[in-house]
């Protein structure tokens, strides 16, 4: 007896709905074009299927851990922080990160200003530093609402800002890619870079959260 037979549909039925649609399913015509082009290029020996697989693996191996290392260094090295804020591409190149044709623009959170990033037109994101964007970053809900009511959207992420702190929304519409430099949490004086990086999450680099506070119970 298979597991499917044991599924008796007591609490729901399967007749009146299809699978949950993705917000943006690939266009079948474009998918077909991609397949035709890929097969042609492989057939002509321009690259191999393994080259494509390796390129995809490398793309998907990128993660917010790189962004966290960059921030940890900026928190502990004033000269690096200045370089990061003024010449983002060359600063992150010292970590072996290439931004390609995009220009990295790092925006610093302060006690007076909180920055948050969005791309209302599509899903521009500093992938070299943060990897694949989360699905909410690409959702129409986030993209349309964070420019309209940033404080409300931030509150939904658990980030409530005092009225006296300015919110600055960056709509990533063109050739720049944005990274938020979060505020360094209190109680981290003298911490090494690896420990500092452990407080830096993906969401605080997009600006919907603050860096984690140190776990004082573990000290």
């Amino acid at each position: 007896m298979s597991g499917i037979d044991a599924h008796d549909n007591a609490d729901h039925d399967h007749t009146d709905h299809g699978p949950t649609p993705l917000e943006r399913e690939p266009d079948p015509a474009i998918a077909l074009q991609e397949m035709a082009l890929r097969e042609l290029l492989i057939e002509k020996g321009i690259f191999t299927a393994d080259d494509i697989r390796r390129a995809m693996e490398a793309m998907e191996a990128r993660s917010p851990a790189m962004g966290a290392r960059v921030v940890a260094r900026a928190w502990s090295d004033q000269a690096f922080k200045t370089a990061l804020l003024t010449h983002g591409n060359s600063a992150v190149a010292t970590f072996g990160v290439s931004m390609g044709v995009a220009e990295l623009t790092v925006v610093e959170n302060t006690p007076e200003v909180h920055n948050v990033i969005v791309c209302t037109l599509c899903s521009c994101y500093p992938r070299a530093l943060l990897g694949i964007p989360p699905s909410w970053y690409k959702s129409k809900s986030y993209r349309s609402r964070v420019v309209r009511d940033p404080r409300g959207v931030l509150a939904e992420f658990g980030t409530t800002l005092p009225p006296g702190m300015k919110v600055r929304v960056h709509d990533s519409t063109a050739d720049l890619r944005f990274l938020v430099l979060p505020r360094r949490p209190a109680g981290t004086d003298g911490w090494y870079a690896d420990a500092l990086a452990s407080l830096v999450t993906r969401d605080c680099l997009i600006g919907v959260a603050m860096a984690r506070a140190p776990d004082t119970t573990a000290l």
């Binding site: 309209r148 929304v169 960056h170 050739d175």
Partner: protein
């Protein structure tokens, strides 16, 4: 390529409707903003999208908008703002919009 606008200039975003791969969000068209950074020249994305080299290049600016000026019923703090990256051919001098 000499930028037509400078840091601190007030500009109005062109309200024109234009089909194609346009990188100027609709919600900013017709709004007033201020140049906070001149970023240099980049290939024109509207032409790049047509399979060309994006020539002529366009000067890109970072333009700041008060959120209460973008959304008349904005309920956040008066100092809250938004910065978008916009190409020169979408910017108009505020003198044209008294």
């Amino acid at each position: 390529m000499t930028p037509a606008f400078a840091l601190g200039d007030n500009v109005v975003i062109s309200p024109r409707d234009q089909p194609g791969h346009v990188r100027t969000p609709c919600y900013l068209r017709g709004r007033r903003g201020r140049i906070i950074q001149v970023c240099g020249a980049f290939p024109d994305p509207e032409l790049l999208a047509q399979g060309t080299l994006g020539i002529p290049y366009r000067v890109l600016y970072r333009v700041a908008f008060a959120l209460y000026a973008v959304w008349p019923d904005y309920a956040g703090a008066p100092s809250d703002d938004l910065i978008a990256d916009l190409y020169e051919h979408w910017l108009e001098s505020e003198e044209k919009h008294p």
